[in-house]
């Protein structure tokens, strides 16, 4: 792989940028790999990278049914943070946030991680107490979280509606200054280039259509490009977890729902951080090209259609305008949808399945992007050693039948009430 650098770009200026090699190869699938990862999104590619980099494994394949980074990795609102209330969650996401801080150098690929601050607004004393509780839980476990007064909030985001008679008056906020955004495509491409350079085979246009069994153990997969055998197989397909696990006869505590996002036309800088709210379910940030990126509630019914709908989108925009009225005359230029794998307590599933040699990484709901490095690292550990790491042990698949659920919002098993 050719090393990326400013010097490389200058050299390219002289030869019409002709010297750059492909960022990843396009190999034919081999007949056997030690580990196969199903799903070429950010999590799958990160897993392959850390299997090769941390565990020194060479015979790894990532099978992607479409093109890498084409699923949720390319469809989220690019927010990175670790400010969760419950310990297992904020420990895992914090482990990931520390990796984000050096990821561009690690991958020699600028993922544009921008720690511009991830802020939750509070609209009542009750909200502010809930935010303080979340901040205290984080601070006690060594994670940065700071309460903000009204004036500090207004200074950071001058376009917020600070009027006292606003429907959702702003009393203050809780900010994680080390949180922010990153360029989603760059994460997938950076990990792909890194993994490929360490010998991982990234095989696109290769959909898994079934599992090869030896007794009750999985020993390979059937794909649209033929059978491929493997020592261990790791499912990592986000919204399609239910479908792929179904091919192995597994029924998961996961239901796929659509999450819509949208972006406006590019304007000069107006939103400086990531704005979220304790009462309103919407999140607003501005991309480096000037577009205001917007997301809100998931559609609370099952879907694989990757299609949005006006009702939920219009409510998300209304919530955004209730906070930042100055957005009114901007224009939405593009809206898209991801298929999120909503787990039945809102926390991910990273670990073994009842089927021997078959592992699962999924259930990320609408919070998967921020976990990409931590998800890849812990899943690599699990696939390499066969046992979960301490960070992902709480997120076992059997936690539901045992009653050890990790329910951040306390809203119970129905994903549509989350």
């Amino acid at each position: 792989m050719s090393q990326y650098s400013a010097f490389g770009l200058l050299r390219g200026a002289l030869n019409g940028q002709k010297h750059w090699q492909p960022a990843w190869r396009d190999p034919e699938p081999k007949s056997h790999y030690d580990i196969i990862i199903i799903g070429g999104g950010g999590h799958g590619l990160a897993t392959a990278y850390y299997l090769a980099k941390v565990h020194g494994l060479k015979n790894i394949a990532v099978l992607e049914k479409g093109w890498i980074g084409g699923g949720n990795t390319g469809r989220n609102t690019t927010i990175v943070r670790s400010n969760y209330r419950l310990k297992p969650l904020h420990d895992l996401f914090e482990f990931g946030l520390k990796m984000w801080e050096h990821l561009s150098d690690e991958l020699n690929y600028n993922v544009m991680f921008s720690p511009r601050g991830a802020m939750f607004l509070g609209h009542s004393d009750a909200d502010m107490t809930k935010l303080a509780e979340r901040g205290d839980a984080m601070r006690c476990d060594g994670i940065d979280a700071d309460l903000m007064t009204r004036d500090e909030v207004q200074k950071l985001e001058p376009l917020l509606d600070m009027s006292r008679d606003a429907r959702f008056p702003i009393e203050g906020g809780l900010i994680q200054r080390r949180g922010g955004t990153a360029r989603h495509d760059a994460v997938a491409w950076g990990y792909a280039r890194g993994a490929d350079s360490l010998g991982v085979d990234i095989i696109q246009k290769c959909e898994v259509t079934g599992f090869v069994r030896d007794g009750d153990a999985v020993v390979g997969v059937e794909t649209t490009r033929g059978r491929i055998n493997a020592g261990r197989v790791g499912i990592c397909v986000a919204g399609h977890s239910g479908h792929v696990a179904g091919l192995a006869g597994l029924k998961l505590p996961v239901e796929s729902q659509t999450l819509q996002a949208m972006v406006t036309e590019g304007v000069k800088p107006m939103i400086n951080s990531v704005i979220m709210s304790q009462s309103l379910h919407c999140y607003i940030s501005q991309s480096d090209k000037g577009g205001i990126v917007f997301g809100g509630d998931p559609d609370n019914w099952p879907s694989y259609a990757q299609r949005g709908n006006p009702m939920v989108m219009e409510r998300a925009v209304a919530q955004g305008l209730a906070l930042v009225p100055a957005l009114s005359r901007l224009r939405m230029v593009r809206t898209w949808s991801g298929v999120t794998d909503m787990s039945f307590d809102g926390a991910p599933i990273i670990g073994e399945t009842p089927v021997k040699n078959l592992f699962l990484n999924g259930g990320w709901c609408y919070g998967g992007f921020k976990a990409t490095p931590a998800s890849g690292w812990t899943y690599a550990h699990t696939l390499a050693t066969g046992k979960p790491h301490a960070l992902n042990a709480p997120f076992a698949l059997d936690r539901f039948e045992r009653g050890a659920t990790i329910d951040e919002t306390g809203s119970g098993p129905m994903p549509n009430s989350r």
């Binding site: 990326y4 009542s124 205290d136 006690c140 006006p310 209304a318 009114s328 005359r329 045992r402």
Partner: protein, 911 residues
């Protein structure tokens, strides 16, 4: 004539001009600057596909950045400003980026700017400053936006000749028909193509459609095709920046159509040649539109480059308007049979242009292998026609490849949509393979993407069409790839060595053209659709000017400060009144269900986890409800009003969730039960009277012996029938009076008179918190946080031994009875005041083992107390912990105690 201004100078426009037409009329060629290299940009098209002529229009909160000059009709006093340039349009510092173009190739930013995240944020600061086109307004929008539904049998999109005829046919067949056109006139293409004689036909057809009941909406774009033939339309009532009638700037239509007919025509393609982005390069049909429709001749010496017959009409129109057509570069070998003395050259494709001071000076072409140049101030280009298939694709349609037209045309669809006219069968063309230097041949004019960028992406492995698009940012500008997608696909197919249809296709994402955010928000812009729910007794409270507190969508009085009392002082005074005398408060927002029928008790023992059947008529009991996973999600009281009639109350916060839960259990799980469960939350207003003097006050109000604790009687107050429940949340002897909401006024007045006579007080939610915390009552959303089992909350002894309630099987899961669970505890401060929400730690630096869910003070004796959750809390009474809040810099030393601080034996309830 109409006055308008551009960059501070005033000009005149003709009636019906678009801003683009008016600018051309006044000889203005330079209108903007491109996104990345800040290259000079002029007007290229006459429609919504315009990539270059973007201006900011209007002022104050009505300012609209990035508005296409081709998509706004001039009105008196229109204010337009150019964008993305400093200090001004003709001299823009930003153009220095153009010099660095060789370094700033596609995706350069992925290959550099390394170092810490902090260092990236420094680079990012400058990148963000250079990025973005216009400036967003900073003031609030003074106008509002309407949203309206519509239903029809036939929705026709596009009022060209085909669309107009289809709408007429539908309307006169007695069908409910709606015709939608984004322009402000119908059949603009007839004028463009010199068929003005059909104007009469257009007028009469339009009149016949309206006479038959059909609706025609102009300045309206079909922006999204969703599910089951729902189409969203965006209607401009006022032009951008214009002060609207009645303050409604735009209307968003949600149209449910029986059938949709797309007559959306096609968009003319540019050609890729060196320096094809200069002002003075325009599409052929656009030139014809400006000449025929607006009477504006954009150039005196014109070169025409084409691969089809249509562009010849532009040549005739220009000649008729007095312009000189110096050359027609026809890429096709065979002569097109033009005989009108026009200088036609065959096998001719444009190679490059050059210019000075931002306008075109000359065009160079390659003809049969030789190059030739002409001085010209305008080149009209026609690279073929791309059918507008966006809505067909949004509807989940498929495409076929029309080889003659080198274009994708609509094929099958799974929704009721058909495509007619130009969009279904575009004109045949000759496929022109770009021959010029790829470096300066632009395909995405706004994001400055060139053919060489496509080649670079291919070389670096970004080979799927979606990778190509995201790596080069091609088609991600405000024109959404309308002029660039086909050129990019052509180049990609060339690289892959396949025909264009095999090269892959990007997804067509709504909206067709960008949609104003305020329009999507509609009336919800102010409150996001979360209307404030008003108490039945709102006016009574408002008159006392209380401090209001949001609770769900309700607002309830939090305290009634007297004089200049602070919230805390008022709340403590109110709480003391309840402890020592009598107080009254509004409890109307509690969820309430009237459950009647022979199986009412059986039904309630499914919803509630405690026994109900044994209740005698006139008696009531505390109860709680489980989710199916066994966790407690709500609590309340149940009262037997009559033989087969019960009243169930539960929390305000969980009211809607409980209503759905009760309906699901009754209708889906137990359809055969003989029971009626009616939501009466808003039917009854509720007034609580609490305190040692409450019983005396009640006796005076109802003129009889008030019911003993946890009993209920029907009664009359001021001649109004009420239900009295002897329930207590405060820990004092108390009563809740339920009265039909419309008669609540007189009953509240009678109660207030009685309470005031006794020297009592009104109390709000803050005092109620102090009272219930001291008593140790739970709150849904506080102690009941959806993660606690009955045992965790010390409620398991009340569980119905017979089982059969929702959640019983959930409780059987092993982890719910293992050690290490968080359990309900009381906390008493040894030193400092306990902060609500604080973490409970054994010592400095230890990971929290619980938290404070509710903190208050002993009301009469003082002293900081709290309720909380603590790992294995039941077994740790007497232990000392630290309640710490690092975010607030507060800390207290606490002792774990039982969660009851007041009248633990319940003597206060006995008379």
């Amino acid at each position: 004539m109409i006055n308008f201004s551009f960059d501070g100078k005033t000009y005149q426009a003709e009636k019906g001009d678009t801003l683009a037409a008016a600018l051309l009329r006044n000889g203005i060629g330079l209108v903007g600057r491109s996104f990345k290299y800040h290259r000079p940009r002029g007007i290229m098209t006459a429609g919504v596909e315009e990539p270059n002529a973007l201006v900011t229009i209007g002022d104050g909160g009505r300012t609209e950045p990035n508005t296409r000059a081709t998509d706004v009709f001039v009105y008196e006093g229109l204010v337009a400003k150019s964008q993305n340039r400093w200090p001004n349009l003709s001299f823009d510092i930003g153009s220095v980026f153009g010099l660095a173009a060789p370094v700033l190739s596609a995706g350069f930013y992925y290959k550099t700017f390394f170092g810490s995240a902090k260092r990236w944020m420094i680079y990012e600061y400058f990148i963000r400053k250079a990025a973005g086109l216009g400036n967003a307004p900073t003031k609030t929008d003074p106008d509002h936006f309407s949203q309206r539904a519509a239903f029809c049998d036939v929705l026709v999109v596009g009022a060209g000749p085909a669309g107009l005829s289809a709408a007429l046919e539908a309307a006169e067949a007695g069908k409910r028909a709606i015709l939608v056109e984004q322009d402000n006139i119908l059949c603009a293409s007839l004028i463009r193509d010199g068929q003005d004689r059909d104007g009469a036909w257009v007028e009469s057809t339009q009149a016949r459609i309206r006479a038959a009941g059909g609706r025609i909406l102009t300045r309206t774009t079909a922006s999204g095709y969703w599910e089951h033939d729902l189409v969203t339309l965006t209607q401009r009532i006022a032009e951008p920046g214009q002060i609207p009638l009645h303050g409604v700037a735009q209307r968003l239509w949600h149209v449910r159509a029986g059938q949709v007919i797309l007559a959306t025509g096609s968009i003319e393609r540019p050609m890729a040649f060196a320096h094809n982005d200069r002002p003075g390069v325009m599409l052929s049909q656009a030139v014809r539109t400006y000449v025929r429709r607006f009477g504006v001749v954009p150039g005196k010496r014109v070169v025409i480059a084409t691969n089809n017959d249509d562009a010849y009409k532009t040549a005739y129109a220009l000649k008729a308007a007095g312009a000189e057509v110096v050359a027609i570069l026809d890429a096709r070998p065979a002569p097109a049979g033009a005989d009108s003395g026009l200088p036609v050259y065959n096998n001719a494709v444009p190679l490059s242009t050059n210019g000075a001071r931002h306008c075109l000076k000359s065009v160079t072409a390659r003809i049969n292998g030789l190059t030739q140049s002409w001085n010209a101030d305008l080149i009209a280009v026609s690279g073929g026609f791309t059918p507008v298939v966006h809505l067909h694709m949004q509807a989940g349609g498929t495409l076929d490849w029309n080889d003659a037209a080198q274009a994708f045309v609509p094929a099958a669809s799974r929704q009721n949509v058909t495509t007619i006219g130009g969009a279904a069968n575009p004109d045949p063309v000759f496929n022109v393979v770009p021959v010029s230097k790829p470096k300066k041949s632009f395909i995405d004019f706004q994001n400055d993407v060139t053919l060489s960028d496509v080649d670079l992406a291919w070389a670096e492995g970004y080979r799927s069409v979606e990778h190509l698009k995201r790596y080069t940012t091609l088609g991600m500008a405000t024109d959404q790839g309308k002029l660039s997608n086909m050129a990019a696909l052509g180049r990609l197919a060339e690289k892959q060595g396949v025909a264009i249809p095999e090269a892959g296709l990007t997804t067509f994402r709504p909206p067709y053209t960008p949609v104003t955010m305020g329009l999507l928000a509609g009336a919800g812009a102010k409150d996001a659709g979360a209307h404030v729910r008003r108490l039945a007794l709102y006016d009574v409270h408002a008159a006392k000017n209380p401090i209001w507190q949001p609770l769900g969508y309700w607002f309830r009085p939090r305290a009634y400060p007297a004089g200049n009392e602070t919230l805390a002082q008022a709340a403590m005074r109110e709480a003391k009144a309840v402890r020592s005398n009598v107080g009254m408060t509004d409890v109307s927002t509690l969820a309430k269900f009237e459950v009647s029928g022979p199986d009412a008790a059986a039904f309630l023992e499914i919803i509630c986890a405690t026994t109900v059947g044994k209740l005698a008529v006139g008696r009531g009991r505390y109860t709680f409800m489980l989710r199916e996973d066994g966790f407690v999600f709500d609590d309340g009281t149940v009262w037997r009003l009559d033989e087969n009639r019960y009243l169930l109350t539960s929390s305000t916060g969980g009211a809607d969730r409980m209503a759905t839960h009760i309906s699901y259990v009754r209708q889906y799980l137990c359809p055969h039960l003989r029971v009626s469960a009616v939501n009466v939350q808003e039917h009854y207003a509720g007034i609580a009277v609490a305190g040692p003097q409450a019983k005396a006050a009640l006796a005076a109000l109802i003129g009889e012996e008030p019911p003993r604790h946890m009993s209920t009687v029907p009664a009359m107050i001021s001649g109004v029938p009420v239900i009295v429940l002897a329930a207590s949340y405060s820990g004092e002897r108390a009563f809740e009076i339920y009265v039909e909401a419309s008669h609540a006024g007189p009953v509240w007045a009678a109660c207030e008179a009685e309470v005031t006579k006794q020297g009592g007080a009104l109390y709000g939610l803050e005092a109620m918190e102090f009272l219930r915390i001291e008593k140790g009552h739970l709150v849904v959303g506080g102690e009941v946080d959806g993660r606690m089992t009955p045992h965790d909350l010390a409620l398991d002894k009340m569980l119905n031994k017979a089982g059969g309630y929702v959640g019983a099987s959930g409780l059987s899961r092993p982890a719910l009875s293992e050690a290490g669970r968080r359990q309900l505890v009381g906390l008493e401060a040894i030193e400092g005041n306990i902060p609500e929400g604080a973490m409970l730690i054994t010592g400095e630096g230890a990971s929290p083992q619980g938290h404070v869910s509710a903190a208050a003070f002993r009301i009469l004796d003082g002293g900081s107390i709290a309720l909380g959750q603590l790992t294995d809390g039941f077994a740790r009474h007497g232990e000392e912990l630290i309640a710490t809040s690092p975010t607030r810099g507060q800390m207290a030393r606490v002792r774990v105690v039982a969660p009851h601080f007041y009248d633990t034996a319940g003597e206060r309830y006995r008379d």
